[in-house]
């Protein structure tokens, strides 16, 4: 085991700045992320929380005119280094989006997609991975009899859980979630939130949410972003009871946003 894996921080972000062209979207962010914790990011639209999330697996490197400076250490390695292997990084840092976006393939093939890309061909091995991932997201009992059916036939909530299973199939260390329940009904939302709570045992989860009650319910730490700055990062219980910064209090109590 390396020294890095012994520390509690899986990500250590220092003086991170990001520009989309002339727009300074992230301003001098310092942000340690602890292993096997749920970290929630809140803030008004355009505050930089999704941009920050996407920096953690360099999704925003695909956007033209993006400039990133500073340091984003993942397990001790600065991923902003030009030689970072993006495929390898994203194997460790998976992502789930706002709306379930399964591939137009079978349920099975959706989950097996990642492992296949990473070279796993043996059917029994793939079966094992798919079963485990679907069990991890509590979808197995609902779909075990129709693994070859099209994934797009599932309900919205099931599609989102399938996408989480797809992300888990590559055995990531970190799961990034960008408003994972904003398109779901309350019951499906509750299922995903319970899932987040269970997944925390094995994974580090970073979640962007517009639903403050959701942040309060599921996360250990909460970060408040405003106009590209990280205003406050604290224990969730502190943020929602006695935030240190008056801007955080104004936001969570709905005085602006």
């Amino acid at each position: 085991m390396s020294i890095q894996t012994l520390t509690r921080e899986i990500f250590d972000v220092k003086d991170l700045n990001l520009w989309y062209g002339d727009h300074h979207a992230l301003k001098g962010i310092y942000f340690p992320i602890q292993k096997k914790e749920v970290t929630a990011m809140i803030g008004p639209s355009g505050c930089g929380k999704s941009t920050f999330l996407k920096t953690l697996n360099l999704m925003n490197k695909m956007i033209a005119n993006v400039k990133i400076t500073g340091e984003v250490k993942f397990d001790g390695q600065n991923i902003l280094h030009p030689k970072t292997d993006l495929v390898e990084l994203r194997k460790h840092v998976g992502m789930v989006f706002q709306k379930g976006n399964p591939f137009p393939q079978s349920i099975y093939d959706n989950v097996a997609y990642g492992p296949r890309i990473h070279g796993i061909k043996k059917k029994t091995h793939l079966d094992e991975i798919v079963t485990k991932a679907l069990m991890d997201v509590a979808l197995w009992d609902e779909v075990k009899d129709r693994l070859t059916a099209p994934a797009l036939g599932l309900s919205g909530g099931q599609q989102q859980r399938l996408c989480i299973a797809r992300a888990l199939a590559t055995k990531p260390d970190v799961l990034l979630m960008d408003e994972p329940t904003s398109a779901l009904d309350p019951i499906s939302t509750l299922k995903i939130e319970e899932l987040i709570f269970e997944l925390k045992e094995k994974y580090t989860i970073v979640i962007v949410t517009h639903n403050m009650q959701q942040a309060a319910r599921v996360s250990d730490k909460t970060a408040f972003f405003l106009m590209g700055e990280l205003i406050e990062l604290s224990e969730t219980s502190t943020i929602f009871s006695m935030p240190k910064d008056s801007r955080t209090e104004d936001y969570i109590t709905g005085r602006f946003g």
């Binding site: 403050m212 309060a216 929602f240 009871s241 935030p243 209090e249 969570i252 109590t253 005085r255 602006f256």
Partner: protein, 221 residues
Amino acid sequence: MFMNTRSKFDQNLKELKSLQLNMAAEAETAIKNAMLALLNQDIGLASKVMNGDQVIDDLEYDIHEKVLQLIAQQSPVAKDLRRLHVALTVSSEVERLGDIAVNIAKSVVHIGNEKYLKELSEIPKMMEMATEMLTEAITAFYSEDPALAKKCAEKDDQVDEMFGDILKELLTYTPQNPDSTNQIIQLAFVCRSIERIADHSTNIAENVIYLETGKRYNLNA
């Protein structure tokens, strides 16, 4: 972008505060009337205090209902949540103040027209101190002023001391005045009630500080 997005909630909080102030004013009046009734041996006024307690109880019920409704509908956090918690706690304190006014009024009725053994002099001083604390606690609550809340609570020890002294004095009357035992006991009850007014005022003051700072202080200690 710093647009106010919670005008309805703010309006509801204003209505809640107005209910709380009505309730506090009712209790303050009841306490003052009970004390006046004691000083003037005015049984009519004492009865009025006893009959008026239902208004205070009803206001407590209204406040609790409104708070629960706001918690359910607004999911309050931070100071909003403390404000609603404080509304529940303070309304219970004020309800107890109403009961104390009734207890004093009952003692007035029990003493009836029997002449006081000695002109009341120390009890009115203790009353004055306790009502001053009550007024300060309510003002501090109204203006959300932790400094005034602290100032109010500082007087609690003096009221406790007065209570001890008066009680000792009352006990000295017992052997020589066996026919007036009832009066002596009722006056001791009244003093105990006044001492409780100071305690409840201090509790209200503690809540004002909690609302503003999020920290719990035991000002009674």
